[in-house]
């Protein structure tokens, strides 16, 4: 009895709904990760732009110019988008290691810098070229938004990278980087969860990953089973969301037409 009271005191009532949905969502992810995938391999639809990733790395190699990868000014390491970007970075670094192409990674956040150094270094050793890893290429530039923008801009206009990856959380600096990249004719692959910057990336870059595609991209590129399982879980949740919206809308419409006040059960 007392444990129940303590438990009740510990869980605030207004968030019970979120708690239950969180648990359901977690169970779905666990289900697709540990049970479902063993039975049937999961394939993912074609994502525009991802076929271009290898071409972009190949192009940099052929032209003997560096490849620039930057995660934007808007994120920090606690942000899931940054983790997704690190995933893609790991894939890109494996390729640049194999092709012996310079990978330049400027960032505004020292913690991201540290993690990226770790990620790239491991990718280089995993592919068997630890000596090709250059720590100085993964550098902290400035935490100020336009200090960062000016720095990356400078790197782009002076080292003239053949390919530019803009993957992460971007804010206003997005178009400065994308237009400068354009002026030196780099192939640009962008992807972000910052919705307003997407419009600029779509106009100025060759390929753009929109929101959730960024999360799916790492699974698509690496073929990593656990990421693919997550994507599958996301899809299952999307179906649930679609059904919820349809049912709730019909319910609301019937209620409205019958002249009753709306029950609003869908607001929790």
């Amino acid at each position: 009895m007392s444990t129940i009271i303590i438990a009740q005191a510990f869980i605030s009532t207004d968030r019970t709904g979120v708690f239950i949905i969180s648990i359901i969502a977690i169970l779905i992810v666990l289900y697709t990760t540990y049970f479902r995938n063993n039975k049937k391999p999961f394939t993912i639809r074609k994502i525009n732009g991802l076929q271009a990733v290898e071409d972009a790395i190949g192009r940099a190699t052929e032209m003997a110019r560096p490849l620039l990868y930057t995660p934007g000014w808007g994120g920090d390491i606690q942000r899931p988008t940054t983790i997704a970007s690190m995933n893609i970075l790991s894939f890109v670094a494996e390729k640049t290691a194999q092709y012996d192409c310079d990978l330049v990674f400027p960032t505004h956040d020292p913690v991201i810098m540290s993690v990226a150094q770790e990620v790239v270094k491991e990718s280089y050793s995993r592919t068997g070229y630890p000596d090709r890893y250059k720590e100085d290429n993964i550098s902290y530039v400035s935490s100020s938004q336009f200090g960062y923008a000016a720095a990356v801009d400078g790197i782009i206009s002076r080292t003239k990278p053949a390919s530019i990856f803009l993957l992460g959380t971007f804010e206003a600096e997005s178009l400065i980087l994308a237009e400068t990249g354009n002026s030196i004719n780099a192939i640009q692959i962008a992807g972000t969860d910052s919705t307003i910057q997407l419009s600029f990336f779509i106009v100025a870059c060759d390929y753009t990953l929109i929101g959730e595609e960024l999360f799916a991209a790492s699974g698509y590129l690496s073929g990593n089973k656990s990421i693919l399982a997550s994507v599958q879980a996301q899809d299952m949740m999307k179906v649930a969301i679609g059904l919820f919206v349809v049912i709730a809308t019909i319910w609301a419409t019937v209620e409205s037409l019958s002249g009753n006040p709306l029950s609003n059960w869908w607001n929790f």
Binding site: V111, F146, A204
Partner: protein, 206 residues
């Protein structure tokens, strides 16, 4: 061992933060605050790593003679800020804040203002009605811009109402769907991190 300890730490802190979200208990609230303070403090220490990396990278370039005079100016700028702060403090009218207000801020806002030009060149170059999708993008942008130009044209009122309608319904709903997708993607990514399936940040997949 190198991987086990961080994974355990990651899981325990993650679980704590997850659970505290649902609790109004004082223990949970203060735990939340404490961990958020840890973020700031760890960030502050890591900034030292960042600054050292900046100095190192620039020193290497200077010793190789690449862009020497420019980089020296940058280094002097960087070092002079803490020195000024130490001598005169950082209150509103100190030399440190003078540098901020008259050197850093105007340059940063001008770099920002460059965007107006890049917007113009991107409009000229990138905004082509190549496909149905591109035409819709272009049409929506034109309607919004026209409606916000204070033009003395007939139906300006209706145009502006139509622009608001676009912003409030079709545009808003698309953004909502993007947000929902990002929410789901973030959710599963975070969960993989907690469970230790996602280990890229540790450098490896195994």
């Amino acid at each position: 061992m190198n991987r086990q300890i961080p994974l355990v730490v990651c899981f325990s802190f993650g679980l704590m933060m997850f659970l505290q979200y649902f609790s109004t208990h004082t223990v949970a609230r203060s735990l939340n605050l404490a961990i958020l303070d840890y973020w700031q403090i760890i960030f502050a220490f890591t900034l030292i790593l960042g600054v050292v990396s900046y100095i190192k990278v620039n020193m290497t370039k200077i010793s190789r003679g690449i862009d020497r005079p420019y980089l020296i100016v940058g280094l002097i700028g960087m070092i002079s800020m803490p020195i000024m702060a130490l001598i005169w403090g950082i209150k509103a009218d100190s030399p440190f804040m003078w540098m901020f207000e008259n050197v850093q801020a105007p340059m940063a806002s001008t770099v920002f203002a460059l965007l107006a030009f890049f917007v113009a060149s991107a409009s000229f170059r990138g905004f082509r009605a190549r496909s149905t999708q591109a035409s819709i993008l272009l049409g929506a942008a034109l309607i919004i811009l026209l409606s916000r130009s204070n033009l003395p044209i007939p139906y300006a009122e209706n145009l502006s109402e139509f622009a608001d309608w676009i912003r409030n319904y079709p545009s808003m709903t698309a953004r909502r769907a993007i947000l929902i997708g990002i929410g789901l993607g973030s959710l599963t990514t975070s969960l993989r991190v907690l469970l230790g399936i996602e280990r890229t940040w540790l450098g490896g997949e195994n």
